[in-house]
């Protein structure tokens, strides 16, 4: 079969890379750091996108589309933001190719077609969007502006990995404008909750909501909130961020509004985004040494039916029943495929669907039919069991919800087990080098200490959890007084 995976224990990183490619989610491309999202991976992204989009619309947002390019003069207007992204920008400098006079059939950049002003490919769209909002906002009646964009962005990363860190990636970015600080902060937290609900309820990945330290803030934000998830190797992954931008972009782009009393003030802003990186989180949170494990609610395929028969007559019998079951499942809105490909044997198909993480497999054999039963296999627990064909559709519908819940519970149990308090530097480092995971520890609140801890342990402060318990303690590194524990981890 050539489908055997490196195991997690052998080489976690290699296991991940193989799984993405063999699981048919994505491929490397001819462009450095850019990936091809394959149909199976893109179908997963579509399900994630559609659900998120629904949640954005239910919370009053609308979609729009802004240019891919940001003129350099706009890009540099908000200085912190510009500084934060300057080192990873793809830059368009020319707008034409011409024939190479020295090389028939080849092309060169036409030096006469140099742009007067360079264009940055958006690494994020605050600049181009706030420059546009300037023309859309005059009065409090124009607020709030609750806009989201689904788009590709480019960040020229030096070390890339499929889904987790690619030069180009797909994402959504919400950009909202408000009349008051309170309303903007409320929006920032509301969208953090939307992200947490999506990741937990649909991706079955438990997350910690928190706020980043100033060191880890989005460039140009007043506060960055995040959701942090734990992967099976004990490393954390930032799964989404929601930024309170204060009036920074309004000031940089001179966006003012007149309030009810005709007083002019700068507009308050938020931005928030999740990306195809979430697919990396999904893979690393749930999958095992046999392959992907897809949470049913967003699985491209929820159920696969594999026929087992001999002879033409057998095939017809099994076909008829399979199609009947498939139609019944479809009526319940279940995504199901009848894998009746004659070129592959059942065993090969079983391994294939296991690798691709299809939550439920139905094996439909002739003897089973005679007994009015089928064999079901759960991908999450690998259990197999025989159930009656009577009411099979409702049984499977219920089973899919059970699987969804079980995957979540398992990930939550793993996180609980891998969240440890450390009260000294020795404890801190031995946990990180041992079972890893989140380490809850006191920190003196200074950027210097945060940086030193990072240098010495490779762990970063993932977040200060929301509604954190206050507790007097001493910083694990400096021994200086601290009022609360924060969450550390090594991270993707």
């Amino acid at each position: 079969m050539g489908k055997e995976l490196t195991t997690r224990a052998e080489d976690y990183s290699q296991w991940y890379n193989e799984l993405v490619v063999k699981g048919q989610l994505a491929d490397h491309s001819a462009v450095r750091g850019c990936m091809v999202i394959k149909p199976y991976g893109y179908a997963l992204w579509e399900n994630m996108r559609d659900q998120l989009d629904k949640m954005f619309k239910e919370t009053g947002h609308v979609n729009a589309y802004f240019p891919l390019f940001v003129p350099k003069s706009l890009f540099e207007a908000e200085e912190k933001n510009a500084e934060g992204f300057a080192k990873e920008c793809a830059i368009v400098t020319h707008y034409r190719l011409k024939s190479d006079p020295d090389n028939k059939g080849k092309l060169i950049v036409d030096p006469d077609a140099k742009l007067e002003e360079e264009l940055i490919i958006r690494p994020t769209s605050e600049a181009i969007i706030w420059n546009t909002y300037k023309g859309w906002i005059q009065s409090y009646r124009d607020l709030p502006l609750l806009i989201n964009q689904w788009a590709n962005v480019v960040r020229w990363e030096m070390r890339t990995r499929l889904f987790l860190r690619t030069a180009e990636f797909l994402w959504q970015e919400g950009h909202t404008a408000h009349a008051t600080k309170e309303e903007a902060v409320e929006e920032t937290l509301k969208m953090l909750d939307v992200y947490a609900a999506f990741v937990e309820e649909y991706m079955a990945v438990p997350v910690i909501r928190g706020v980043k330290t100033p060191n880890e803030r989005f460039a140009g934000a007043e506060d960055t909130y995040c959701i942090e998830a734990l992967m099976q190797d004990g490393k954390a992954l930032q799964a989404g961020t929601s930024h309170f931008l204060g009036q920074n972009f309004a000031k940089a782009f001179d966006v003012k509004f007149s309030d009810k009393n005709n007083k002019l003030d700068y507009v308050w802003a938020t931005s928030w985004g999740v990306s195809t990186r979430l697919i990396g989180a999904l893979i690393m949170a749930h999958s095992d040494d046999q392959g992907l494990v897809m949470p049913p609610r967003i699985a491209p395929l929820q159920v696969v039916i594999v026929p087992i028969y001999k002879g033409e007559e057998g095939k017809m019998l099994v076909d008829n029943k399979a199609i009947e079951i498939m139609d019944g499942l479809k009526k319940l809105g279940i995504r199901v495929k009848y894998d009746d490909n004659d070129n592959a044997r059942p065993g090969w198909k079983f391994a294939e669907h296991e690798l691709k993480g299809v939550p439920v497999r139905i094996a439909l054999g002739m003897r089973d039919l005679e007994n009015n039963v089928v064999e079901l296999a759960r991908r999450d627990t690998k259990e197999k069991f025989t159930v009656s064909l009577d009411g099979i559709e409702n049984y499977i519908q219920k089973l899919l919800e059970d699987i969804q819940q079980n995957i979540y519970d398992r990930a939550l149990a793993f996180r609980t087990e891998h969240t440890t308090e450390a009260n000294s530097w020795e404890e801190f480092t031995s946990i990180l080098d041992g079972k890893a995971g989140f380490v809850s520890a006191h920190w003196d609140g200074t950027a210097e200490t945060e940086e030193k801890i990072k240098q010495e342990s490779k762990a970063t402060i993932r977040c200060i959890p929301l509604r954190n318990t206050h507790e007097d303690g001493k910083c694990i590194l400096t021994g200086n007084p601290s009022t609360q524990r924060v969450l550390f981890a090594r991270a993707y």
Copy 2:
């Protein structure tokens, strides 16, 4: 109100430009030739995209995503394609900015961060996709490959117009791979039919299906099929194209497959695309001097309810009824909004919704309520009439279908009236300078004559209609013999 439009008779081009902006569909951006698609315009695009996507999936296609960038060496591999797009390519040459030493707070392109190989921003994705397909196709079992991509592309146009011709635009591009020529040709025509069905049945714009002359072919295609629509100023607009690419890209990227007899051959290809340009076609086909006219099936908003009342008690009565009607319509899947904004008067709202082309407006007044009736207004005919509230939801559902049909019929009647046979050069030019539209005329079949006709009349051959009647005649320019009429028009 400041909403008065230039009329079509005064200045058709100005009317169009104003309508796009005042109708809230799109705005110019700070980036030369790039537009911002506003929420109302994007909601329209979402409806179009979702319907097309459904039709692609029903015909067996799946979505995927390929990189935005094409390395120059891949871009130039298929020479005709490269030559066709070389003059309008945005080119990335650097991957980093740095602080400008002479200008505090400003950035410059870092000369040390020059790419070894320039990256072209995709103007179309044949090159990057066929380079990828090389790794995916070995045997006939891997075929057909039926993949579509929704993406942004960039073509550096010198003269741009919102939706019709922009440097960046959104589109879908299908790229399929087949084992035989026959199958590829069949796919090319099947997708042409999908486009025609979508544009006619959803956008209510009648189209002519045809094949382009060699002069007008897509760069790198063996045959380009198209659907051509007629705008209200008598100019044609190419609304979609489907290309039979032969083995050109397979040869350029060395993509071979082994057939059932283990014989190696190059793969056969098609590509097909429609873009946000369709929104331009929609606007110019249906709208009038009062604003947009949206076909109900893809209208972002199908019905708007405007309350008319005095006093708080009146408001409550009208509110209750409006919400009841709205809920009833939503149950039927109708996109409806209750416009209860207190800051605007009914007359202002009427003009606003007329401008935005909402198909049906319900005016709900207190006296109407007493009589158990409402006043409806159709956007397409501007008729107003009073109907009973009993069964109003089903009445409106039927009315929306009537409007859809009427808009189509009107556009079809216009096209019929503006399709004229010309049998001499004088007739040909006098039609073009008079009522314009499609001119059906004989042409001697040579590229030279085609080019001369274009030079002298500004009309191009839009297509040779499919299943064209064969008829002996003489070329309108040269008098040379011809066996069929082709469709000429001035075009967008």
